[in-house]
């Protein structure tokens, strides 16, 4: 995705050519919907949130300063919206204490049921307190790039690192057996 394309489209929109915004929407609809989905785990709501994010970005387009890449600004705006919307109407999650490990993380043949384990870890992530969950969600969404996650959250990198560390610690504490199980299938 080209930053210059974004810049050109923004300039055209600001000059009054509303249809140029469609280029921005088409380029960023996937990432914004996926980011929203990671926050709410509901496809319909993710699209609603992403639509609202695009609308807000359109309204605030003149506030984008060219010193940051357009996508960084867009993700920060969207993240801010998703966080505040999820505080207003929280996604349905299970409290961390109620998250259970699969009863038998190893299959009868000694292999590990990867799908069950992955689902249990994701459930545990969504049961974390918001500040740790948000840091983890953004970190993995941005392909484990701490500066990008920090930009989106509007927090210092050190704070994000600390929250990631604590979030993982909570996960390991909740799912010790699960995360300790050797992945025999890959062996």
């Amino acid at each position: 995705m080209s930053a210059s394309e974004d810049q050109a489209d923004v300039a055209r929109v600001l000059a009054g050519e509303v249809s140029a915004y469609e280029g921005i929407v088409r380029r960023w609809q996937g990432p914004l919907i996926n980011l929203a989905y990671r926050f709410c785990r509901d496809r319909g709501r993710a699209e609603e949130l992403a639509q609202e994010a695009f609308l807000r970005a359109y309204r605030a387009l003149s506030q984008w300063r060219r010193d940051a890449v357009f996508s960084t600004w867009l993700f920060a705006l969207a993240t801010n919206l998703y966080r505040s919307e999820l505080r207003r109407i929280p996604a349905r999650t299970v409290p961390l204490e109620d998250v259970e490990e699969p009863r038998d993380p190893r299959a009868a043949d000694g292999g590990v049921e990867d799908d069950d384990r992955d689902r249990a870890v994701r459930r545990a992530v969504y049961a974390l307190p918001a500040k740790y969950r948000e840091a983890l969600v953004l970190f993995y969404f941005h392909e484990m790039d701490v500066p990008c996650a920090a930009n989106s959250l509007g927090l210092p990198e050190g704070t994000v690192k600390a929250r990631l560390f604590r979030g993982r610690q909570l996960l390991r504490g909740k799912l010790p057996q699960l995360l300790a199980a050797p992945r025999l299938k890959e062996a």
Partner: protein, 126 residues
């Protein structure tokens, strides 16, 4: 294990594809937004003189109140309230009675003036 395993699991999230009408729906909403006329800016130029007068009036009222309170405190319990300009105003109006009547008249006049002023400002085209 530990970090690596968590990283492996959480890095591989299924990718959602936007529904077919998503971009069109967003653009419809954007066009609706663009069609809405820009909000009318607050008419500071027009409002500024009124605001200045309001602030000055408030200051004057405050000052009169403070001066009046000091005088009342100084006077004995049975003496008349004597804010000089208020006594003059009451004499001009032919009301030699209590100080409360004078203050009520002043308050009513201020209220009428402020209502008239705001109605007049509001009725003018921006």
């Amino acid at each position: 294990m530990s970090h690596d395993e968590i990283d492996r699991i959480l890095s591989h999230e299924e990718e959602l594809l936007p529904s077919s009408g998503f971009a069109a729906a967003v653009m419809d909403a954007v066009r609706r937004e663009a069609a809405v006329p820009a909000p009318i800016p607050f008419p500071w130029k027009r409002a500024l003189p009124g605001l200045v007068v309001a602030v000055l009036t408030l200051g004057l009222v405050g000052w009169v109140f403070v001066v009046g309170t000091e005088q009342v405190a100084r006077q004995s319990a049975d003496s008349q309230l004597s804010v000089p300009w208020l006594s003059t105003l009451m004499q001009l109006l032919g009301l030699g009675g209590s100080s409360a009547t004078g203050w009520t008249i002043v308050a009513l006049v201020l209220a009428v003036v402020s209502v008239k002023f705001s109605l007049r400002s509001g009725s003018q085209r921006v």
